[in-house]
Symmetry: C2
Subunit: 310 residues, 2 copies
Amino acid sequence: MDIRHLRYFVTVAEHGSITRAAEALGMEQPPLSQQIRQLERNLGVVLFERQTRGVRLTDIGQALLPRARTILDLQGQFLSTAQELARGEAGHIRMGLAGAVPLLPVIPLTIRRFREMVPNVTLSLEESNTPALCAALHDHTVDLAIIRPPAPDPARLSVFHLLDEPTVIALPRGHRLTTRPVISLDMVADEPLIIFARELGPGFHDAILSAYQSAGVTPVIGQQAPQIAGTVPLVAAGLGVSVVPRSLSQIHAGGVTFHAISAPAPRATLAVAIRAGQNMPLVTRLVHVLRSACKAWEKQLVAESFFETE
Amino acid sequence: MDIRHLRYFVTVAEHGSITRAAEALGMEQPPLSQQIRQLERNLGVVLFERQTRGVRLTDIGQALLPRARTILDLQGQFLSTAQELARGEAGHIRMGLAGAVPLLPVIPLTIRRFREMVPNVTLSLEESNTPALCAALHDHTVDLAIIRPPAPDPARLSVFHLLDEPTVIALPRGHRLTTRPVISLDMVADEPLIIFARELGPGFHDAILSAYQSAGVTPVIGQQAPQIAGTVPLVAAGLGVSVVPRSLSQIHAGGVTFHAISAPAPRATLAVAIRAGQNMPLVTRLVHVLRSACKAWEKQLVAESFFETE
DNA sequence: CAACTGCCATATGCTATACGTATGGGTGAT
DNA sequence: ATCACCCATACGTATAGCATATGGCAGTTG
């Protein structure tokens, strides 16, 4: 049995006549007559009672008709769903976010706008660290991840730059420098640097250390935090200072103040990573939306800093 | 797109390999490869990611797989339902019952046994009069009817005898004959006979009148009742006497007593009628069950009467 | 009453297509 | 480096669905 047979069955039932159904189907009467008969043979039931004026559903045909309609409906849904998936208008995206990324407003805002663009898309978010996210990409646990580059295994991934976020220094309450809006790294070189474990984000970790190096100093490594946002409470507890993405200044943790860093200042780079072979239109589309939104964000950032320097 | 394509799709997805799926499907690898590729072309999506070691579902394929399974399941159900309908193991029967038929225990009992035989069958019952039931058979409102023959239009119906039920006389309380267990019709010939309208059941109506005639008397026609069971309350109200099927003596209406009729006594005949062209196996099966149950019932009836005469 | 009209069934030829066989290409394992 | 595995391509064949032509049956019309 074939879907075509079901379509023929339903059409003949709707028209009450093989001839009428045939012209509705754009075919001739004899082959339709054959197909109906063949369907009846295959099913082992008589679907139509042949009369002089057209055909009439038997009781068995009557019982099977709604089921045939259901299958046809589902087949139509199957086709249209495939089209939507192909055009990136439906589906499901599992998205991974590196530490503290949701705190940068442009990211959640863009995700929100994307969801409004494609309402039939469901999206699940997961926050983790960059190496874990890249591993998740490889084993298909997530479809797309916003990471802090570089990725551990860039060969099998496609990584696109999103933005370079300025960083700030977090100082505990009562620190001698809290009155100064801009601080250089060498001014805090002798104080313990609270930093997250390198395994959880080597890119940003190294960016901070190399900025210290460019400033001609070597930081004293203090307590290690399990994640980027985790450094702030440790600073508040007086265990040292920390360098964090500027978006973390949103966290108005009691007892911590944030201060701009004079050059050479590290930058917190964000990138979006997908599997190299990934050609799911939906994912491609989200990558595109993220890149353009972040490009606009960086442009605005430059304008702000230009305004500040003036 | 075709159901076959869906089956191929699901099988390949389950085996993760076109070669393995091909042998599971009892075919060679190249045509299966072709069919998968053709399905992808028709849908406009890539279902599998070809790898060196077998194939792997793409995200789109993953999204479509459960839908394909659903369609295949429904197709299987469609086929098995057709088989069940063909074998009379599933379906729906609309059954019509002539007046007072449910009061004869053998009928509801047999229906109950039939339902236990075929649990997947739903059955709807409707009580009406014989001419209306035959009309309902013609316009497919019911599939089968237990009537009191003859049918008005026996040409397009198949009618099978079920049983001949004895009749009894219903007398009002205080009647002069209530002490006698057996009464002959001529003993009540001069009292108004409560009988239902002839249009609602000519067979039984005429059987009663011809029994009077055989007894050599002519009844005085009294009030007409709208149905067979409706005569009993009228007898209770003292409007006359009535002749009813023996099963109506189940109704212990206050103020009415039932008495056997000595020969010549009318019989209340029941028959089952279906449309002449009716070949729904389920209906055929129910007719068969009814006939054999009623044959047994009649045999038992003869045995009882034999015992009584002894 | 005869011719006609609709409608379904059967017969036949053609074309499309699904399958099998043979073979090539690329990748990981021995 | 050879081998093994698996997918893709090429080609021939057989099946099957479709169109055309025609027959048969019943109800209708002149």
